[in-house]
C-alpha cells in the first residue's frame, strides 16, 4: 500500500478526528457515488446503497476515534473495502452465496471482527435500553450518557432523597446488564459460527 499520504488526506483525517462537521460532509459527498455504484452493480437498491454507505462511514469514523488506529491506505480505499465487506455479508444473509463482487476500485481485506465489536455493543445496548421501561431508561441515559449527577436525577425524577434515587438506578442498571450481556454474548457466538461456516 501507499506509504505517503497526501497532505490533504492527513489533514482530512485530523479534522475528522476532531469531530469537524464540514470534514464529515465533504468525505460523505466525495465517496457516495463510488459506493452507490458498487451496490447498484451488485444487485442492490439505492436504499441499500445508502444504508451500506452510512454503515461503512460509521465504522470508519469510529475507527478514527480509536487511539491505536492507523490508516495505511487512502480514505477512499478504506471506505470502499468496508462497504464491500458489508455488502458481501448482506448478500450472504439474503442467501445469495457469493465471494465475488464486480469491483470498481481497489480494496484491502477487512476483518469482520474489527468492524463488529462496536456493532455488537451498539446492538446489545439498543435492545437492552428498549427493553427497559420508564423511568429506568431515562435515569440511566441521564446518568451514563448525559453525565448528569445523582443530585440532578433525584430532583428531576422527584425522589425524596439521593439514596432512593441511587437505589433505583442500581436496580435499573442491574436489569440493563442482564439483558445487555444476554444479547451481547449471543451475537458474539453467532459471529463465531458464521466465521466457521
Amino acid at each position: 500500500m501507499k506509504q505517503v499520504q497526501p497532505v490533504t488526506e492527513a489533514e482530512m483525517l485530523r479534522s475528522l478526528q476532531s469531530g469537524d462537521q464540514k470534514a464529515l460532509k465533504s468525505v460523505y459527498r466525495q465517496h457516495y457515488q463510488t459506493i452507490m455504484n458498487l451496490v447498484l452493480n451488485n444487485g442492490g437498491s439505492l436504499q441499500e446503497a445508502k444504508d451500506v454507505y452510512q454503515e461503512a462511514l460509521i465504522v470508519f469514523y469510529e475507527k478514527l476515534q480509536e487511539d491505536d488506529f492507523e490508516l495505511n491506505c487512502s480514505i477512499k480505499t478504506f471506505i470502499y473495502s468496508v462497504s464491500r465487506r458489508l455488502w458481501l455479508k448482506q448478500l450472504q444473509r439474503k442467501s445469495r452465496f457469493t465471494d465475488d463482487l464486480s469491483d470498481t476500485d481497489e480494496f484491502i481485506q477487512v476483518e469482520s471482527e474489527d468492524m463488529e465489536q462496536k456493532e455488537d455493543q451498539y446492538h446489545a445496548m439498543q435492545v437492552a435500553l428498549e427493553g427497559l421501561g420508564e423511568p429506568c431508561r431515562s435515569i440511566l441515559k441521564d446518568f451514563y450518557i448525559n453525565n448528569q449527577s445523582m443530585d440532578d436525577i433525584t430532583e428531576k425524577f422527584g425522589y425524596t432523597n439521593a439514596d432512593n434515587a441511587k437505589n433505583q438506578k442500581y436496580k435499573c442498571l442491574k436489569r440493563l446488564k442482564k439483558t445487555f450481556f444476554e444479547v451481547y454474548q449471543k451475537t458474539g457466538n453467532n459471529n463465531d459460527q458464521q466465521e466457521r461456516n
Partner: protein
C-alpha cells in the same frame, strides 16, 4: 441486598476514578485477590463504554442522514429531471397513439401482475394482523414503460437515450390540494422512500414537491410545492367534513389510475375500514393502483376522506381514511406547518359534471422517483 449495591457503587466510583487513596489501596488488593471482582469491573467498563458507543452512534447517524438529505436535494435541483420526464412522456404518448391496441393489452397484463402489494402496518411495527388482503394502490410505472419501450425498439424507430432516467420513475398515485398556497395531501405509501416527488395535472403542468410531514399509521403525507415560480392554486372549492358519515351515503372519487383523470362513484359501506380500523371507511368504489391518495367527496362536494387501499380478497371493498382524522392530524402538526383545512362550500347544489369541472384542477397525479 445492600451489600451488592455497595460493591457495585464502589466499582462505579473506581471506574470513574473517584475513590480516595485509602479506598483505592484496599480496592486494588481486593481486585487482585478476587477474580470475580476483576470480571465485574470488566463488565462494568463494557457497559459504560457501550453507553458511549450507543450515544455516539445515534448522534453520528443523525448527522449522516442530514448530510445525505442535503446532498440529495441539491442533486435533484441540479440535474433537473423535470425536462427528461417531459421528454419521455411525450414519447410514450406518441407511442400510445401508434400502438394503442397492443399497448393496452400489454399494460393491462402488466398492471395485473406488477401492482405492488405493500402490507399496511397500522401500528408501525407492533401488532401483527392479517395484512395479506390489504392492498395499497400506488401504481408501479417502471415496468409498464419498459414494455412500451420494447415496443418502440421492435419497430426500430427512435432509440431512447433517456432510458436510465425513465427507470428511476417508480410509482404514481393521486393527491389533492388542501391549501391555496401549495400544500397537498396524499397517501404515505405513495411517497414512501421517495427521492423526488412531482405532481401534475392538466391545469398545473408539472411541479416538484417536497415532503412536509408524514404519518405511516394513518397513511398520510403532506407535501408542499417546491418551486419558486409557483403562483398558488385558486381557492379551494371544497371543505373538510368534520363529522363522520353514515353507510349508504353516496360518494365519489377522482384519481389517476392511468395518465388521465378518472371519475368513480359508489357509497360508504361501513363505519370502519380493514379489519375494523376505526380511522377509515369501507367504500364501494372500484379503485385501482394509482388511486391511492385520491380525495373522497360526498354529493355536496365535502371532502370525506382519502383513498388508501382495498381488500384484495373481497370484491368492491375499498378503504378511505376519514376526513376527521385527517384534519385532526393536520391540526396536530401546527408547529411543523400551519395549515388550516379549507372550509368553502362552493359545490353545494351543483350537478356532478360541473362539480367535477371545478374539482379536477385540485386533483393531481403524484409521481414518485426512488
Amino acid at each position: 441486598m445492600t451489600n451488592r449495591r455497595e460493591t457495585d457503587e464502589l466499582i462505579e466510583r473506581y471506574c470513574l476514578g473517584q475513590l480516595t487513596p485509602e479506598e483505592l489501596r484496599i480496592f486494588e488488593q481486593w481486585r487482585e485477590s478476587d477474580p470475580e471482582m476483576a470480571n465485574a469491573i470488566d463488565d462494568h467498563r463494557l457497559i459504560t463504554d457501550s453507553f458511549r458507543v450507543y450515544a455516539d452512534r445515534i448522534d453520528l447517524k443523525k448527522k449522516l442522514a442530514a448530510i445525505h438529505d442535503e446532498m440529495e436535494s441539491e442533486q435533484f435541483a441540479f440535474k433537473s429531471p423535470l425536462k427528461v420526464v417531459e421528454k419521455s412522456d411525450s414519447k410514450v404518448r406518441l407511442l400510445w397513439k401508434r400502438y394503442r391496441v397492443a399497448a393496452v393489452a400489454a399494460v393491462a397484463a402488466i398492471i395485473a401482475v406488477s401492482s405492488t402489494i405493500l402490507y399496511y402496518d397500522l401500528t408501525g411495527g407492533g401488532a401483527v394482523k392479517n395484512q395479506n388482503a390489504y392492498r395499497e394502490l400506488r401504481r408501479e410505472v417502471e415496468s409498464i414503460k419498459r414494455k412500451q419501450k420494447a415496443l418502440i425498439q421492435d419497430q426500430s424507430t427512435t432509440i431512447n437515450k433517456d432510458q436510465e432516467h425513465e427507470q428511476t420513475q417508480s410509482f404514481t398515485g393521486t393527491g389533492f390540494a388542501i391549501t391555496s398556497d401549495g400544500y397537498i395531501l396524499t397517501s404515505y405509501h405513495v411517497v414512501e422512500d421517495a427521492s423526488s416527488i412531482y405532481i401534475s395535472n392538466e391545469k398545473l403542468g408539472q411541479v416538484q414537491m417536497k415532503t412536509v410531514y408524514t404519518d405511516k399509521s394513518l397513511d398520510l403525507a403532506v407535501l408542499k410545492v417546491d418551486d419558486s415560480d409557483f403562483k398558488g392554486f385558486t381557492d379551494m372549492p371544497y371543505s373538510f367534513k368534520k363529522s363522520i358519515s353514515d353507510p349508504g351515503e353516496k360518494v365519489f372519487t377522482l384519481g389517476f389510475p392511468r395518465e388521465d383523470l378518472v371519475y368513480n362513484e359508489g357509497s360508504i359501506s361501513s363505519y370502519t375500514g380493514y379489519e375494523g380500523d376505526t380511522t377509515a371507511y369501507q367504500i364501494s368504489i372500484p379503485v385501482n393502483p394509482g388511486n391511492s391518495g385520491g380525495p373522497l367527496f360526498d354529493g355536496q362536494g365535502n371532502l370525506l376522506g382519502i383513498i388508501s387501499g382495498k381488500n384484495a380478497s373481497a370484491e368492491g371493498a375499498s378503504f378511505a381514511v376519514k376526513s376527521k382524522w385527517i384534519s385532526d392530524y393536520i391540526n396536530k402538526q401546527r408547529d411543523v406547518a400551519n395549515i388550516s383545512v379549507p372550509s368553502r362550500k362552493n359545490l353545494k347544489g351543483a350537478d356532478r359534471t360541473s362539480q367535477i369541472k371545478k374539482l379536477k384542477d385540485f386533483v393531481f397525479m403524484v409521481k414518485v422517483y426512488n
